[in-house]
C-alpha cells in the first residue's frame, strides 16, 4: 500500500506492507538512528516524534503514520549542525554505546517543546521510558537540564 507522510519536514510517499511497523519503514529508508530494540514499547530506543509527541515507532504501523508528521533523530540535527540537545549530550558525556541515545534525545525534545524549563522531576519522568545499561541516567538528566537552563532546546529547528 502507498502512504504519504511528512518526514523530517519533507513530504514523502512510500510503499509499505500493512504489517510493516514505522521502525522498519524508517530503517528501510536509511534512517538508522531509530533503533530496533524490544519491539514492545518498553525500551524507548525506537522513539520518534509523531505530530510533535514522542511515540514508540515499534508500536505504530507505518500505515498509521500516513497523513502525519514524523520527526526522527536525523531531523533534529547532524554532525555539522547538531541540535542543542545533541550537543549537550556530547558535552556532558551522556553517551557510551549510544543505542538508547536517539530515543532519549527525542524524548527530551518532545518535553522541551512543550515545557522549555522543566523541573528535574519532569526530566526524570521524560527519560524514565529509556533504560540505559551503560551511561546511567545522571549525565543524560544533566544534559537535558543544561539545555533547559539556556532554554535553547525549546526552539523548533
Amino acid at each position: 500500500m502507498k502512504i504519504e507522510l511528512k518526514l523530517n519536514g519533507k513530504d514523502v510517499a512510500w510503499d509499505c506492507a500493512p504489517h510493516e511497523f514505522l521502525t522498519e519503514a524508517l530503517r528501510r529508508h536509511g534512517l538508522l538512528g531509530t533503533k530496533r530494540g524490544c519491539e514492545s514499547g518498553d525500551c524507548g530506543a525506537c522513539s520518534v516524534l509523531l505530530d510533535g509527541e514522542e511515540v514508540p515507532s515499534c508500536l505504530v504501523l507505518a500505515a498509521q503514520a500516513a497523513g502525519h508528521e514524523v520527526t526522527t533523530i536525523e531531523g533534529l540535527g547532524d554532525f555539522a549542525g547538531p541540535h542543542p540537545l545533541q550537543k549537550a549530550f556530547v558535552d556532558h558525556t551522556a553517551i557510551q554505546c549510544g543505542f538508547c541515545t536517539p530515543g532519549m534525545v527525542i524524548a527530551a525534545k518532545a518535553l522541551l517543546d512543550v515545557e522549555p524549563r522543566p523541573s528535574e522531576h519532569a526530566v526524570r519522568e521524560c527519560l524514565a521510558g529509556h533504560p540505559c545499561r551503560c551511561t546511567g541516567y545522571v549525565k543524560p538528566i544533566q544534559a537535558v537540564l543544561a539545555v533547559a537552563a539556556t532554554n535553547a532546546g525549546g526552539e523548533a529547528r
Binding site: 509527541e53 511515540v55 508500536l59 505504530v60 504501523l61 500505515a63 524524548a107 521510558g129
Partner: protein
C-alpha cells in the same frame, strides 16, 4: 509478530467501522493506540481497523456530566483542563500511572477499557467514578448505540464483546476522588489498585486485583455504604473498621505474582489510603 496481516483500513464513520469488523469476523481487530494490540501482534490477525479517523476524541462538559471520547489519550487525560477537578483526581492518577510518557501518548481511554477489561488502573477509576459507556454495536445489520453502566465483575468481559466504545460519560459534582495502586516497580503492571470517590453525599469504591492474564474488577458497595456515614463525622477507629469491611468484600486473587492473602491485604491497605485521601486525612498514621 504479525504473520497474516494483509489489510489496514481507516474508516471515517462508526457504521463503516462496525461493518468492516463484522465482515472480517474474528480475524479483524479494532486499532486505537496500538500499545497492546501491536505488542501482542496476533499471528492470526488478517485485518486491522484503525479508529483514528473516527470523531471519537472529544472532551465535552455539559451540565452535570463530562463526555470523554474513546480516542482521548492518557497523556491528554493528564493535562486536560476539564479533568482538573478534585472529583476526577482518580482518573488523572490512573492515566499518569500507566507505563511511560511515550506509551501514554499512544494509549487511549477506549483501548484501556476494551483491551484490559480491568488489568490496569483506568477501569478501577472509571468504576469508582460512576462512569457510563457509550457503546455502538451491529445488531441484525443495524448500528445500535446505547449507554451502559461501567461493567464490573463477572459480566465485565462479556458486556463489551463485539462493541465499539465510543465515549465515557462521567457524572460531575463537587466530590473528591483518589486512586491508590501498588506494583513491584514504578513501571510494572500493578498488583492491585483501589479507587474511592465521594459523590452526591456517598462514597463509592472500586478495586482491581490484578495479575498476568486475569483481573477482578469489582465495586465495593458495603464498604462504600459504611464509609458514606463517615463523610460528616468519623469514629476514631474508622481505618480499622474500613479495613475489616474491605477484607470482607475483596477476593483472594492468587497467581504467580502474589498470593491471594497478600493481594487482599494489600488491596485493603490501598482502600484505606484512598478513603483517607477523599476524607482529607493523613494516609499513614
Amino acid at each position: 509478530m504479525y504473520l497474516a496481516l494483509e489489510r489496514y483500513s481507516r474508516p471515517s464513520t462508526v457504521h463503516e467501522c462496525l461493518e468492516l469488523l463484522h465482515a472480517q469476523g474474528g480475524r479483524a481487530a479494532l486499532l486505537s493506540g496500538g500499545t497492546d494490540l501491536h505488542a501482542r501482534a496476533d499471528e492470526a490477525l488478517t485485518h486491522v481497523i484503525d479508529l483514528q479517523a473516527l470523531p471519537l476524541a472529544e472532551v465535552r462538559a455539559s451540565g452535570d456530566s463530562l463526555r470523554l471520547g474513546a480516542r482521548v489519550t492518557l497523556a491528554r487525560l493528564r493535562r486536560e483542563p476539564a479533568l482538573a477537578r478534585p472529583e476526577l483526581a482518580a482518573l488523572r492518577e490512573a492515566a499518569g500511572a500507566y507505563a511511560v510518557v511515550a506509551l501514554q501518548n499512544r494509549a487511549t481511554l477506549g483501548g484501556r477499557i476494551m483491551v484490559d477489561r480491568g488489568t490496569e488502573d483506568v477501569p478501577t477509576a472509571l468504576a469508582a467514578l460512576g462512569a457510563e459507556l457509550a457503546l455502538a454495536r451491529r445488531v441484525d445489520g443495524q448500528i445500535v448505540t446505547e449507554r451502559e453502566p461501567y461493567p464490573v465483575g463477572q459480566r465485565a468481559r462479556a458486556a463489551l464483546e463485539g462493541a465499539l466504545v465510543c465515549a465515557v460519560v462521567l457524572p460531575l459534582g463537587t466530590g473528591k476522588s483518589a486512586l491508590r495502586r501498588f506494583g513491584r516497580t514504578a513501571v510494572d503492571q500493578p498488583l492491585a489498585s483501589v479507587a474511592a470517590a465521594s459523590r452526591a453525599g456517598a462514597i463509592h469504591l472500586a478495586a482491581n486485583v490484578q495479575g498476568p492474564g486475569a483481573a477482578d474488577l469489582r465495586t465495593l458497595p458495603r464498604t462504600g455504604a459504611l464509609a458514606s456515614a463517615w463523610l460528616a463525622d468519623r469514629p476514631a477507629d474508622w481505618r480499622a473498621q474500613a479495613r475489616v469491611a474491605l477484607l470482607g468484600e475483596l477476593a483472594a486473587f492468587e497467581d504467580p505474582w502474589a498470593s491471594g492473602d497478600y493481594r487482599r491485604d494489600l488491596s485493603a491497605t490501598l482502600g484505606v489510603r484512598a478513603l483517607a485521601a477523599v476524607f482529607g486525612e493523613p494516609e499513614i498514621v
